[in-house]
């Protein structure tokens, strides 16, 4: 499950936009998987490494320099696991809010690094950002539920 789920998330993230182009604009499955594993393990070191590995793998599929998603997901992994230690993130409402918050954190880190270090032209739109955050939060709440069931069985 530790390797299979992130791989599956990366695969779906790369394949589905071929049929539904807006999927890649609004949804980030690898981010949801990072948040789930980080919160489930409640260990910041494990969380940050999970985020780093998933983020770097996502970078490798694109053509931008490797490390942009890696850095952003490392921060998210660390933050989500630290939060998982202190708060009860088992209920759907909390997960919804946590996912929304971490989506915005992820976007902020990514855009900062992309603009500051790589000199990429990025435009931040609050409307699109919040919309995408909400979409990820809704999907995340459902996905975490499925992954919880799957984890219990295994």
């Amino acid at each position: 499950m530790t390797i299979g789920v992130p791989l599956l998330a990366l695969f779906i993230q790369a394949f589905v936009p071929l049929r539904f182009p807006r999927f890649a604009v609004y949804l980030d499955l690898p981010l949801l998987v990072t948040i789930f594993f980080a919160m489930a393990r409640r260990n910041p070191i494990s969380g940050l490494f999970t985020g780093a590995v998933i983020g770097l793998a996502q970078d490798m599929l694109g053509h931008n320099p490797i490390g942009l998603y890696g850095i952003a997901k490392t921060v998210v992994g660390y933050g989500a696991s630290s939060l998982g230690v202190k708060l009860d993130v088992e209920n759907a409402g909390a997960r919804f809010l946590v996912t929304l918050g971490f989506y915005l954190v992820h976007s902020a880190v990514y855009f900062t690094v992309a603009r500051g270090m790589v000199n990429m032209t990025q435009h931040w739109s609050w409307g699109n950002g919040i919309l995408a955050g909400l979409a990820n939060a809704v999907l995340g709440a459902g996905l975490y539920f499925v992954l919880d069931r799957f984890k219990q069985r295994t």
């Binding site: 070191i45 490392t74 690094v113």
Partner: protein, 406 residues
């Protein structure tokens, strides 16, 4: 000291991991490795892990789809067939017109010793994946190094340009789409012939840059490749102008809608081979032996005046157009010195032929006398037409810009 390290252990590890990634990023940026050459080995792992599944899924999807569409879902096929036949008829008529235009363009290119780029070989490939991010607009195709695909090859569909090959792996290649912000395509407007650079915007739109604000650009105008980037052959359709506004500094802000649907790509063509060669004139100026003889005869110049005067049966419509016999000799004077040049080499002969054609046309157009003189008019206005769309030029090696105006 140990207690401090223990207390902030998680934070120190976080900073360490972030530092390593920032360092790696800085190295890539310093080496300007936006084309991902330095990180090729690492990327191969990810591509190798993901693309086999994507390839399998695409295969299953296509097999299922073709089974359904080819054997079960045949509703409306007859009507569609009828419609396509009508379309073919219309296109045949169009083809005749275009082949005439193309032949004319080729004649002119021959005169100017133009070098054209011919698309001589393409490889069809299936789109099997994407980067999965709207910040990196790349796709993966199922043909790679083994199929002859190389870096910087142009990728297109029947509708227009798609992008260029960025990375090549043994059986997979990564294609940078024209709507990615790091891409750039040299383009030219079809009517106004204004040149610019097509780039992707961060939001996925395509904009035309480097067109001065004092130029007139109309919405709906077609944008073609200019060939200046040495990747895309000249004349391939790229898109149409959808919006024109004032941009930064002295340039216009022109939005372009790509002709190829970049969001729903399934099959693409990779231009694996193109040739630079001069336009040949062997098919365009087919000179008859009688024409050559007529040109070389020393007495040819004197005849028309007499023939023209004696022309008994000029067509009424032509002869009545205010023709004057006096014009004919002047036309002939233009033609004669050239046609009688003894050391005419092949290209010169072409020029001579055209000069004769032009003067002949003038003679025919302005005076019935010129037309009535067969010895003069024949080599000129009645020169044999180029063959219609010989297989060499239209089927096997169509010029890239055959359909585009020059």
């Amino acid at each position: 000291m140990e207690s401090v390290l223990g207390r902030y252990r998680n934070l120190i590890i976080l900073v360490g991991v972030l530092f390593l990634q920032v360092l790696g990023l800085a190295v890539q940026v310093k080496r300007n490795s936006n084309d991902a050459q330095d990180t090729r080995l690492i990327r191969i792992w990810a591509v190798g892990a993901i693309t086999p599944f994507e390839r399998g899924l695409v295969w299953i999807e296509n097999s299922t789809g073709s089974l359904w569409h080819n054997y079960f879902y045949l509703r409306g096929v007859r009507a569609e067939n009828r419609q396509l036949k009508q379309q073919i008829e219309q296109m045949r008529l169009e083809q005749v017109r275009l082949s005439e235009d193309a032949a004319q363009a080729r004649r002119l290119q021959t005169l100017l010793a133009f070098k054209e780029q011919f698309i001589s070989k393409t490889v069809a490939a299936q789109v099997i994946g994407s980067s999965g991010s709207d910040l990196s607009r790349v796709i993966y195709i199922d043909k790679g190094e083994n199929a002859g695909v190389r870096r910087d090859m142009a990728v297109m569909t029947a509708d227009g340009v798609v992008g260029k090959v960025l990375q090549v792996y043994p059986s997979v290649a990564q294609v940078l789409l024209i709507n990615d912000q790091s891409s750039g395509v040299g383009v030219i407007m079809e009517k106004t012939r204004l040149q610019g650079v097509l780039r992707g915007a961060p939001n996925g739109e395509v904009v035309l840059e480097r067109v001065m604000s004092d130029e007139q650009v109309a919405v709906g105008e077609t944008v073609l490749t200019s060939g200046g980037d040495q990747i895309f052959p000249k004349g391939l359709p790229v898109g149409t102008v959808t919006k024109v506004g004032t941009g930064k500094e002295v340039f216009l802000n022109i939005k372009v809608k790509p002709t190829a649907d970049l969001s729903k790509l399934e099959e693409v063509l990779v231009l694996v081979e193109k040739q630079d060669r001069e336009a040949t004139a062997d098919d365009t100026v087919r000179v008859r032996a009688a024409d050559i003889l007529a040109q070389r005869l020393p007495t040819v110049p004197d005849k028309p005046a007499a023939d023209a005067n004696a022309a008994p049966a000029a067509p009424a419509g032509v002869a009545g157009e205010g023709s004057s016999i006096g014009q004919t000799p002047s036309v002939q004077k233009t033609a004669v010195p050239k046609t009688t040049a003894p050391n005419a080499t092949a290209p010169n002969a072409t020029v001579q032929k055209t000069a004769v054609q032009k003067t002949g046309t003038v003679a025919g157009g302005t005076g019935g006398a010129g037309r009535a003189a067969p010895a003069q008019a024949k080599p000129a206005s009645a020169a044999p037409k180029p063959p219609k769309a010989s297989p060499d030029q239209t089927t096997s090696q169509p010029p890239a810009d055959q359909d585009s105006p020059h």
